[in-house]
């Protein structure tokens, strides 16, 4: 599956970009990349599961982003946008629909 290889490289790139921001978030992105890679060898179960983990991680990242924005409002602080590469996991959502049996 070419798609799984493409997703593998995408998440490797995201993981490398995230390392300096949050190494544990980067770890999760590398795990997703690894599962996509296994998908290339072992089939669509891996691509489906990798997409599921990516989407769940993206949801958590979105919630954390919203929470930090609300925090700034409560504490009367200026909000500063911090890029988080886990958000990109949302692009795996169409794959979930496509592969679902």
């Amino acid at each position: 599956m070419k798609l799984s290889i493409a997703m593998f490289f995408l998440f490797i790139f995201l993981g490398i970009a995230e390392i300096s921001i949050n190494p544990v978030n980067a770890f999760v992105l590398f795990v997703i990349a690894l599962v996509y890679f296994r998908g290339h060898q072992k089939g669509k179960s891996y691509v489906y599961t990798a997409s599921l983990i990516a989407v769940v991680f993206a949801i958590i990242s979105i919630l954390a982003l919203i929470a930090s924005y609300i925090d700034c409002m409560i504490l009367n602080e200026t909000y500063e946008w911090e890029l988080e590469f886990g958000l990109a996991g949302i692009i795996a959502l169409p794959l979930l629909w496509k592969i679902k049996p």
Binding site: V35, S45, T49, A50, L63, D71, P101
Partner: protein
Amino acid sequence: MVGNPNVGKTALLNALTGGDFIVGNFPGTTVEKKIGKSKINGRVIEFVDLPGIYSLQAYSLDEKIARDYIINENPDLILNVLDTSNLERNLYLTIQLLEFRKPIILVLNLVDEAKNKGIIVDSKKLEEILGIPVVETVAVEGVGIEELKKRILEGGKIGISVHAENVEKRIEIAEKITKKVVEKKKVAKSVGDMLDEVFTDRYVGVLIFFSFMWMAFRFTYDVASPLVNIIDISISRVVESISGETLIESLIAGGIITGVGSVLIFVPNIAFLFVALSILELSGYMARAVFIMDKTMERFGLNGRAVVPLIMGFGCNVPAIMATRTIEDKKTRLVTVLVNPFISCSARLPIYVLFAGAFFTGIESVVIMFMYLLGIILALFSALMLRKFVFKGETAFIMEFPPYRIPKLKDVWRLTWGRTKHFLQKAGTVILVMSIVIWYLTNFPESEIQNSYAGVIGKSIQPIFTPMGWGWELTIALIMGFIAKEVVVESLGIVLGNTMNIVNIITPAQALGFMVFTLLYMPCLATLAAIRAETGSWRWTAFAVVYGLIVAYFVAYLITLLGGVVF
């Protein structure tokens, strides 16, 4: 109500009684019998939900509870609940129950999941073969409950006479019956099959487990943060509005509100942690986590069954220690009980959140995750030592996977509320009383805190902690924390006036050492009571205290030293 683990007995009890008992998607959710009452056509019926068991051989404590109940309590009717997808294995217990010659109704639960797997059971034929009423249900949806109530009022039937002299014979009978009543249709690979293939993969399974754990901690700390801040600001405003000039005002503001408030602030973190754990459990993922961790557990002299109590320990060590009842092997059970206090319960979370927020800005979640991992590592290491030198022997276990389910909001709420309620109850009782005690100790005989009882006690014990650099304020918090771990934060709140003043008295390295000490130093009073009850031994209870203190002291010292190099 009797049946194999995770066949939906508790869900059925809720459906029959309108009760609010906690439902899991994990074998071993019920380790004690639960009782619920219902009025059916004017008749009051008492239902007793027994722990899930595979047979009446009574190897483990929960099996003994179930078997003894059926033999000694002489129930009017046995509701034998079965998972329709696993009929053959479930029928083994049915055959044993038929041997008791008591009225039985067979409940074929989870018929919807069986149909999705292409498994169709001819319940009429099964009824004819066994000679007992058979009712199909989907307990969580309330399907078939009215029919079941009707059958309950009819009283069930004693059924065919079975005389199986051994295990093989029973298995043979179950196999024959299953062949006659089950029809299997070919279905495409389900989502559950696909997920299982990956979650149980020996290469990526463990990595996925740690990824989910990390997501749970981010959810607990980052996402809950606004609620924590709202409560914090509200409590600070109330305290500021009270002048604290008179003794009563000082008690209310500086004692009760500051004390209880400093613990209540962390209720959102605790509730969010429980939401995350509930979703993992109800979705069926936790059982896969147990499976992939089984090999690791074996290396430490435990088995996969020990993972359940260890994971439950993240909530509270007391029910976690009770959950060890599902472990058949006595030695494995005792080791799991003794190492459980090293698992970070929710009461320690306020300490981590406070110190991580105060000293490790930007990497709070990483520090909190480190605390949880350290607890797990030390629990496993201790288990290895105990198995190697004290409780020698090997251990193994068999478990089945529950199906994947999208967690229902109602069930997530029930699980979360049931566990968070326990924390709130403590805030209203133990912590409230301790607030008054600590306020008294810090205000008498002199209001100057250095010369108060707390100051004197703290200073007299403080030299023990000189190597770690902790002052008497932290010492008194540790002493009070023996009652309940939440009291550590509460004590600091009262002694320091505001918990955030902690940054003025210790360094980040000393703070990390203190966090480690509170993780390990000794089980709280309730956990000690649970250890005493489950081990039946004062000797092992004393061991849990002494061992915890020794490990805590040395590891905290080491962490403080290492922390001094890093921070």
